[in-house]
């Protein structure tokens, strides 16, 4: 299921909220579990079985690890962690990457079946959330859940199931056991949710149509300014799509009594690639740091090993974003730049004025999005050539048309990618804000509804993750 649809917003969500709040506290996790599975299975019902397998696997792995530890059997505990990690990664590999591997091998003339599997929705998010649970039990960072239902509800929690933020069990364990519900929490959730809905439906979908135009433009016809306008559109679409989803997740989490961490912190204000990754998809970065980078030795190692560690982390980060070689290229692009910044350029950047850093950061990130967004390598080459002035001239009539049509929405989106609105908002008197909240909330809901009812155009960028 996808949040930004009329059936989710006006049927599923009211049904969840209604049944959740009329149920006694002790049944609420169970109610959520049922709805979570409905949410998950909506697109592909058979994958509910896969989901249940993952839940049971990790739940019992946790119990075995815990028992081994209690009995002082460290070796047994490590084996249990290893086996559950291996199975989780095998599932992820098979369902997400097998088609890529098989089709690549077929390219070399090997006869391997692709199985034509549909990617289970959100598999990249929930496997990352669950497979570290036995690790945390082993490390003593997490307690065993009270029962299978609590654990299953955590794994399938619908607000963050398909597009994050990636939440570790240890962060949510207390809230799974007990959480508070209050009108204040609910109302703040409503506001965050509507902001997220607006980001997704009114900004991301809208600007996405501009990117679609440039993605569909044959490479030989791309002009330099057109290619940059296209990549600007994609940068804004991706950010508002993803952060809009995260906001909706945080908002609906609060309506149900949960507190999730924020996933974005104005990434396009970053003054370097390193800083960008501290602001973009924060929960993914922290996951890789905690479960991959630091176990590899982190940065307390010799320079050569550090470069290797960074290489592994960025290759994995790239591939996590999708089963296609361009995502690997995109990850390695950041590997090269981050190594460059770490060993040399960050010292230079510090001495330069701030605006130089902003331009540098945006330039790096936007060129990166071209690698990310154009999957076909020859088309990607033509797109980059056009961006760097080797296209069909500087601009054409199409560019003028689209610039004029999209200028207002682009300006709004660019401003919305900065903290400006937030700063102004909190400068306004409380009274004015109290009047503005219901007006803006209703206007946002109504406009989003209008776009959703009208639109067959509602692509969801994260099915591939």
């Amino acid at each position: 299921m996808v949040f930004s649809t009329p059936y989710f917003l006006f049927l599923y969500l009211p049904a969840v909220l209604f049944l959740y709040y009329i149920s006694p506290l002790k049944f609420r996790n169970f109610i959520l579990l049922i709805f979570n599975l409905l949410f998950y299975g909506w697109g592909e019902p058979v994958y509910i079985l896969l989901m249940i397998f993952t839940i049971v696997l990790d739940y019992f792995a946790g119990i075995i690890v815990h028992r081994c530890k209690v009995r002082g059997n460290d070796k047994g505990a490590r084996w249990a962690v290893g086996i559950s990690l291996g199975l989780n990664l095998a599932i992820l590999f098979f369902f997400k990457y097998w088609v890529l591997v098989a089709s690549t091998l077929q390219g070399f003339g090997l006869n391997v079946p692709t199985f034509d599997l549909v990617l289970p929705i959100g598999i990249s998010f929930y496997t990352f959330q669950t497979m570290t649970y036995p690790v945390d039990i082993y490390r003593g960072d997490a307690e065993l859940p009270k029962n299978l239902i609590n654990f299953g509800t955590f794994v399938t929690l619908f607000p963050q199931l398909i597009a994050g933020p990636i939440i570790k069990y240890k962060e949510l364990a207390d809230q799974m056991a007990s959480r508070t519900h209050s009108p204040e929490k609910f109302a703040s959730g409503v506001q965050i949710f509507i902001v997220g809905l607006g980001k997704k439906v009114l900004l991301a979908n809208n600007i996405g149509q501009l990117w679609d135009v440039y993605l569909a433009t044959p490479g030989a016809e791309l002009t330099t300014l057109g290619a940059w306008l296209g990549i600007l559109a994609f940068s804004l679409q991706l950010y508002f799509d993803f952060s809009g989803y995260s906001d909706m997740a945080v908002g609906m989490g609060r309506m149900l009594g949960f507190e999730f961490l924020e996933n974005f912190n104005y990434p396009y204000l970053a003054k370097s690639a390193t800083e960008f990754w501290r602001r973009w998809h924060i929960s993914l970065g922290s996951w890789f740091r905690e479960y991959l980078y630091i176990p590899l030795g982190g940065n307390r190692v010799k320079a050569g090993r550090l470069v290797f560690n960074l290489f592994v982390v960025w290759a994995c980060t790239g591939l996590w974003h999708g089963a296609s070689w361009n995502f690997l290229l995109w990850g390695l692009y950041f590997f090269v730049i981050i190594v460059f910044e770490r060993f040399f350029f960050s010292r230079v950047l510090k001495k330069l004025p701030g605006w130089v850093g902003h331009i540098y950061g945006l330039f790096i990130v936007m060129v990166g999005w071209a690698l990310f967004a154009v999957e076909d390598f020859s088309a990607m080459g033509l797109y980059l050539k056009a961006m760097f002035g080797m296209g069909a001239g500087l601009l054409d009539g199409d560019f003028l048309y689209y610039l004029r049509s999209y200028l207002p929405i682009l300006v709004i989106a660019i401003l919305a990618a900065t903290p400006l609105a937030k700063t102004l908002w909190y400068k306004a008197p409380v009274r004015a804000r109290q009047v503005a909240i219901p007006v803006l909330a209703l206007a946002g809901l109504a406009l989003a509804t209008a776009y959703l009812v009208d639109g067959t155009y509602n692509p969801f960028l994260y099915f591939r993750f």
Partner: protein, 377 residues
């Protein structure tokens, strides 16, 4: 936020999502949308097979059902169109807003990639038949009214379709260049892709000059029959601010001499005694089907008072408003629509003693129609 204020915000939000959700479930479902001119998806109860088999058919159908039956659907669509317009967009749902205060709507025009193949079917027809074959393409609204199209609108007819088609013609077919035939403020509907009665008359004079050497000059004025026509382009755009179009007839229902009769074949069997206009269609959304009663595989107009012989027109719906003029000059006008008629053209021409054949399409239909290959048989 105080508790009271939080409750207020909570209630507001819940009223919105619960309210529309319940309204969706409780209100009766609509069968047909006048605004969109299409049938709406109905609810179908889930079955084991539709849920677990057929790639989740129940779920995808249910999503369509909710979208189609959403309370106030038409109003939401118009609100979105307004929002696009106010945010500076020059188009909505693949329809350009004209520069005349967004009153003229243009369906976007995409040039065909397989024009040579399409023209070749016409050439084949010319080679197959012994009677003279004429071919005309009606220029797109985006070409004729380019002056009120947004600046640099990318998806517009630049005249190249007609020019390229002409260059691809063989000697068996007489090409009639209509690219400069239409002039004026009233040759197209603002809300529809079709030409108006006045536009069709200009097209008629250009066609007749080429095929006949003369045409009938009309000294009467066109008659207003409707002032509330909203066409298909308006439906796509959801542009609620646009004023409706006026519709006119020019040739009377049974011709100027009162002897013109029309035989329609909407389902294959003839319906005799029809006239040039079906005025009952003025009461429905699709008012353009007033001309000859709408889509049909074959329609024959007979005018015993005319000078010319028998003309076969292989055509799209633009010919519906053109045919009344053609009937002034031909004793029989046979209108043949390849979408609904699979009769062999060669056979038809021989059986009916056809004297001239005209292949007439709008540029956009000629670029997209999937039945042109039938011309070659």
């Amino acid at each position: 936020m105080s508790k009271k204020y939080s409750i207020f915000i909570t209630v507001l939000f819940c009223l919105f999502i619960f309210g529309f959700g319940i309204a969706l479930l409780v209100l009766p479902d609509r069968e047909f949308s006048e605004q969109e001119n299409r049938y709406l998806t109905q609810f179908e109860a889930p079955t084991l097979d539709s849920v677990f088999g057929e790639e989740g058919k129940f779920m995808t159908d249910f999503e369509k059902y909710v979208n189609d039956q959403f309370p106030l659907r038409d109003q939401w669509i118009q609100l979105k169109a307004w929002s696009e317009r106010l945010s500076g967009k020059q188009e909505n749902n693949k329809v350009y807003f004209g520069t005349d205060g967004q009153q003229t709507l243009f369906a976007q025009y995409t040039k065909p990639t397989d024009l040579a193949q399409r023209v070749n079917y016409v050439n084949q027809l010319g080679a197959n038949l012994d009677v003279p074959v004429y071919f005309g393409l009606i220029p797109d609204k985006t070409w004729v009214w380019a002056d009120r199209l947004p600046d640099h609108a990318p998806l517009a007819d630049d005249g190249s379709t007609i020019r390229d088609a002409q260059a691809l013609m063989s000697g068996d077919v007489n090409f009639i260049d209509l690219s400069d035939a239409l002039h004026g403020e009233d040759v197209f509907y603002r809300t529809d892709h079709h030409w108006t009665t006045m536009g069709a008359y200009q097209g008629y004079t250009a066609l007749m000059s080429a095929m006949n050497g003369s045409f009938t000059l009309l000294d009467s004025e066109p008659t207003l029959v409707s002032d509330s026509f909203y066409g298909t382009t308006w439906s796509s755009a959801g542009a609620g601010w646009v004023k409706p179009d006026e519709m006119y007839t020019w040739v009377p229902d049974n011709g100027f001499t009162g002897n013109t009769t029309v035989t329609r074949y909407p389902e294959g069997l003839p319906i005799e005694g029809c006239t040039l206009y079906d005025r009952s269609k003025l009461e429905v959304k699709d008012k353009y089907s007033m001309f000859l009663g709408g889509n049909q595989g074959l329609c024959v107009i007979q005018n015993p008072d005319a000078q010319g012989g028998k003309l076969l027109v292989i055509r799209d719906s633009y010919a519906d408003s053109l045919a009344p003029f053609l009937s002034l000059d031909y004793q029989e006008v046979h209108l043949f629509d390849l979408r609904y008629n699979r009769t062999s053209l060669k056979q038809y021409v021989a059986d009916n003693g056809i004297d001239q054949v005209l292949v007439l399409y709008s540029s956009s239909n000629f670029s997209t129609d999937a039945n042109l290959f039938l011309l070659g048989f």
